[in-house]
């Protein structure tokens, strides 16, 4: 990408969505939220923005708020605020788990869930967690507002559905029904500060007797985008999370994974780990759902 002459580079900090969308229609305009991807890409020469559109002065993007039907998570809310948020911890422990896996303390002070999604990496930790809990993207643009489920947002590595002048405003995450809980696990070859080899997000809803009535199973880092595994979810529905059901879900995930070979892991290994993490994340979600308050 050609580097813009220095004098042409601008910094803008709009306070309304409409103004941000207008600025984002300009050539070379890029959203600046936490900057933990954009500024790194700029320093390493992968991108040369002409207009930085800092969205952190727009109130809707910086708010995390629970109402009667949903949790609103603004696209620019830093990870640290999500991890500290009581409602998020109570309702979506799996999402909080995923957010807390990202980067260092310093990175979590800036990096946002919205940015993690918009960076469109297949290995982004928050994406499987968001999909598992049915999060919906609210996107603003020149044509007004539209809603896209998180699982339909990314189309390929580095690519997503945002058009010119469009902006991810935040996520609507429906309040979970009674006896519902989520969990997210990733595998990395160390304990901290690495990118997922495989990630698995699971959400389950149980009836009063502990039988699973609804489930979502999502894999990350084993395909061009994070994706739902309906066969794994079906294996959990009707079960109480017993070993046989978890094993069937694991087999379905291993079967559904379409990973690549790279320095982080081989195809065979990633397929195997997809099953293992599905089983463990599902077991954690069942355990939590059994203990979850009747909301």
């Amino acid at each position: 990408m050609e580097r813009a002459p220095l004098e042409e580079v601008r910094y803008e900090s709009p306070t309304t969505i409409a103004h941000a969308a207008q600025l984002l229609g300009e050539p070379g305009a890029r959203v600046l939220a936490g900057g933990t991807d954009l500024i790194v890409q700029m320093r390493t020469g992968r991108t040369a923005p002409r207009v930085f559109v800092d969205v952190k002065r727009i109130p809707e993007l910086c708010r995390i708020h629970l109402d009667a039907s949903k949790l609103w998570l603004g696209a620019a809310v830093p990870a640290a605020l999500v991890v500290e948020n009581r409602d998020a911890n109570e309702l979506f422990p799996g999402l909080v788990e995923a957010v807390d896996l990202i980067g260092s303390t310093q990175i979590q002070g800036r990096a946002s869930v919205g940015g993690n999604l918009c960076n469109s990496s297949p290995a982004a930790d928050t994406v499987p967690a968001l999909i598992a809990i049915g999060a919906v993207c609210v996107i603003a643009g020149p044509e007004g507002e539209r809603r896209v489920p998180v699982e339909s947002f990314n189309s390929a590595p580095g690519r997503n559905v945002l058009g010119a002048g469009e902006l991810l405003v935040g996520f609507e995450i429906p309040r979970p029904p009674a006896r519902t809980a989520d969990a997210y696990l990733r595998f990395i070859p160390r304990t901290e500060m690495d990118i997922a080899v495989v990630g698995a997000g699971v959400s389950v809803t149980l009836d009063a007797s502990g039988v699973c009535t609804h489930a979502r199973v999502v894999l990350g880092a084993v395909a061009p985008t994070a994706f739902l595994v309906p066969a794994a979810a079906s294996a959990l529905v009707g079960s109480r999370g017993e070993d046989a059901a978890l094993a069937r879900a694991a087999a379905a995930s291993s079967e559904a994974a379409r990973p690549i070979d790279d320095k982080r892991g081989t195809i065979v290994y990633r397929r195997k780990v997809s099953g293992v993490l599905t089983k463990r994340a599902a077991a954690a979600a069942f355990e939590r759902a059994r203990g979850a308050r009747t909301r």
Binding site: V9, I39, V40, T44, S104, Q106, R110, E192, M193
Partner: protein, 159 residues
Amino acid sequence: MKIHVHTRVNGEATEFLCAADRSLLEVLRDELQLTGTKEGCSTGDCGACSVMLDGRLVCSCLVLAPEVDGRSIETIEGVAKGDQIHVLQRKFLEHAALQCGICTPGFIIAAKALLERNPDPSEEETRYWLAGNLCRCTGYDKIIHAVLDAAADLRGETR
């Protein structure tokens, strides 16, 4: 065109001019002559440039300077009070928790942020909190011991 930014650095009202794509780290070091904050990787991996931005620990290399307009910044220069060094600085000296010293300001800022939130962190909590600060000299043990000792000192205990 340069941007005129008004901010507070270590409690003092400060202003500077910068280009849109300058980092906070570059402005601190090159414009404001606050060279205590170090440049390591400039990609957010090493923590040498750690500062507090509105009370939140961040890498100043990953903040654009114009972003800090109206915000408040704390750097290593604000940690000692006059001739009185901070207990963390004293404990780093006592435990020999530094050799070359490039990582030290970042570690002090990050550790201070930890102890302000959690006066009694476990060793594991301390190691995870400081996982974004890299040191290629000490092997980390001395740093962790210095931080835990400073925490005990701040709690009025002797270890």
